[in-house]
Amino acid sequence: MTSNLKGNLESKFALKVFSGKEFSETAFPLATNQVNINSQTTLASDKDNSQHVSFSDHDDKFWQEQDNVYYLEAPLAKVKEICCYIQELGCPLVLMFANDERNFQAGYAVYYVFAVREEGMLVVIKTKADPESMEIPSISNHLHAASGYEREIQDLFGLVPIGHPDAKRLVFHGNWPQGVYPLRKDFAVGQKPDFAQEKIRFQEVVGEGVYEIPVGPVHAGIIEPGHFRFSVAGEPIINLEAQLYYVHKGIEKLAEGQSLEKCLFIAERISGDETFANSLAYCQAIEKIAGTKVPARAAYTRVLFAELERLTSHLGDLGGICLDAGYGFANFQFQMMRGWAYSVADELCGMRFLRSVNKLGGVRKDFVSGKEAKLIELLLNIRSELEDTVNIVKSNSMFIDRVENTGILEPKIAVDLNAVGPGGRASGIRYDVRKAFPYAAYPNLNFKVPEHNNGDINCRMNTKIEESFEAIDLMIQAIEGMPVGKVCEPIAEVKPYRFAFGLTEAPRGENIHWVMTGENNTLYRYKIRTPSFCNWPALCHAVKGNIVPDFPLINKSFNLSYAGNDL
């Protein structure tokens, strides 16, 4: 049904393909003299017609190499209809963002990104917001996943989603003044607006015996800050509203105008324990724009590091679940293995958080050469201990009783909110970026993606256990199959106003970065969407009906990143 989605969209809604060439033309008016007038209305299928005189062969090749991404331009009035049509075909909305394109006389653009996962294809609907009213039609009532994005765009760009069911602030709290929008180009990054004193409104649940429990932002454990407002009657949770963005640092704004090199270090610091997944997504996007092919040895090295990060993260999560269920022994077993995983990282690169490993065009140096046997020995050691521990944990009926049928994320909700990663896979979603949008050396390696359906803590735990074993196997495969050769292909100058996606499977799930280059090797716009952004609303649904004491356990089974969500 989706195979001819692009053609359907073009004919059904009379959309034209947007290639981004228009940007280059506005930015470099000199070049426009030579441009064939038809080129702006040319469809992608006509790309091979050698009509575009102003763009070199390399440029045409560039747009074609991105051929798993289709940009279609749509009028604002039709956007809702188009988005609903695409969703009905079973393609989820995976990202939605705005971009200040006033420099190209294009006003504020809004991009809706849909994934055709069976075919490894992204469909991007681009529209222009009404510059007078600064309004966009809300699609949240039809596509629930859009709700967070629309609120985010409203806060950062001042585009009002008309018809949004609950368009309250998302990124900013009561201290941010009205009418100040940091991602507009006329807002300077260092500007610090005055503190406002607005009250934050929470969803109210009323009824006999209903009361609220406010928790956070400073919690009892050693975790990141966030405020949770529980509405409860007795023990069961009726509603949970999470007020996040306490660690909002303005990363997207900070990256604008910075060198591509510096943005790599910013990308590494989006979320501490997803350092490698984020830097890899960023590198892949830039490499796509630059047309650089990463050497095979670097691609294998990247798999090794990405899987090490997954293993470290999952071992910590498994320990956390056990700890929150009061199962100390198992927690210390997992923490011990996590410590061993960190020693693998030390052995490889000297950094526990895998920072300063990725580089645009490959990796910084040959991290693996000469260490193969030692690494495999360390990994096999973790594997055998993990096997023993999992056997003990799974045969503990008291523990399993606690996690089974607790914190169920209904498959329907998971699909509607585009739940990703282990959280989604435990609720019946069969999706892994490594399979659907293969990158690095994953196409050459064998691995299985866990399949679970019940959506409870037990399923999420089992998903993580199975992924941990797969991660170890993948690392060993990568070490054994690693071809010899160089590890980095330096990146030449990157052309301005080009854009590309970088997709990776972070330990927490699908991770999407969209970059648009600026002049002189800088970034014009950097949109980051980590898996946590999608899974936080899913978590709020998963706790409903559960008792308050089970919340930490459910929370830990998702173990979402606050930093990755808040940016």
Binding site: H173, I222, K262, F332
Partner: protein, 286 residues
């Protein structure tokens, strides 16, 4: 049950005896140093440094790294053509005085006017200092501070309760603080433990830049902690804002919001570096 017991006795002791015994020399990346004898003062490293931590005066032929800002990314080592930059495995970098975190006079001047003078924070945050001037009319701040420090040592003795506050980190530092409780570090062996509320705490271990949205929560947490209290800034963000300096949503380090006793550089600092910093704050290491 039998399997559980078997596992418990399988690994008798994993805990590293730091700081009583120094760590086995490992190849991990610690402090980056610039050898001024080798340096040709080309300025490439200062130009590329992602957190502007390298301060260079070409005419005076002097160069230095501000470790409060350094994110330990070793890019300078990679860039340097003459091999003047070396990464050592020194990790015990915590200091009491932020100015000593840079070995360069230029940085000292630049730093002097940053802490506690951040205009944008508004009047309300000035009242957070422990000592109220009106109550102590004839004493200088220096005397008050040294008196306070002596009191702190006397009262806390050799045990300490810590509350961790994430004021806008990337969560790297928080995972490393978490690691203090794992079998390898087991902080409780030193009489130090983490508590659930600031009201039970002697020390706040603060990570992150002090974001706009966390600002009030951090100050409230500080005020909820009974006096005398210690504040330790963990990581480049908490020390100086790190790579997230000067954005609309961050402060340049938590000392713009609360007084800080010890600064622990690193991005993130290794667990042992954090232990060192905590012990330094209560004077158990020199």
């Amino acid at each position: 049950m039998f399997d559980t017991l078997k596992k418990i006795i399988k690994y008798p002791r994993l805990t590293q005896d730091y700081p009583n015994r120094s760590l086995t020399p490992a190849s991990f990346l610690g402090q980056t140093e610039i050898d001024t004898a080798k340096c040709n003062f080309c300025g490439e490293c200062a130009l590329h440094c992602p957190s502007q931590a390298i301060v260079l005066d070409k005419s005076a032929r002097s160069i230095g790294i501000d470790y409060a800002k350094c994110i330990f990314c070793i890019l300078c080592e990679e860039i340097c053509q003459v091999g003047a930059v070396q990464t050592t495995n020194k990790f015990e970098l915590a200091v009491r005085d932020k100015v000593t975190l840079n070995n360069h006079a230029l940085c000292a001047n630049a730093l002097r006017d940053t802490p506690l003078s951040n205009k944008s924070n508004g009047e309300s945050f000035y009242k957070t200092a422990v000592i109220n001037e009106e109550n102590l009319p004839n004493t200088s701040y220096e005397t008050i501070c040294s008196d306070l420090q002596a009191t702190v040592k006397k009262i806390f003795g050799r045990s300490l309760q810590i509350r961790e506050v994430d004021a806008g980190s990337c969560n790297g530092c928080d995972y490393e603080i978490n690691a203090l409780n794992n079998p390898f570090n087991d902080l409780e062996r030193l009489g130090i433990s983490f508590v659930a509320s600031p009201r039970h705490a002697d020390m706040l271990l603060v990570t992150g830049t002090g974001t706009r949205n966390m600002q009030q929560a951090l100050v409230k947490t500080y005020e909820a902690t009974p006096d005398p209290k210690l504040v330790v800034a963990v990581g480049a963000c908490a020390c100086s804002g790190g790579i997230f300096r000067d954005t609309y949503a961050t402060n340049n380090g938590i000392d713009a919001l609360v007084p800080v006793d010890v600064y622990i550089p690193g991005c993130p600092p290794r667990p042992q570096a954090i232990i060192y910093g905590i012990l330094k704050a209560i004077d158990r290491v020199k």
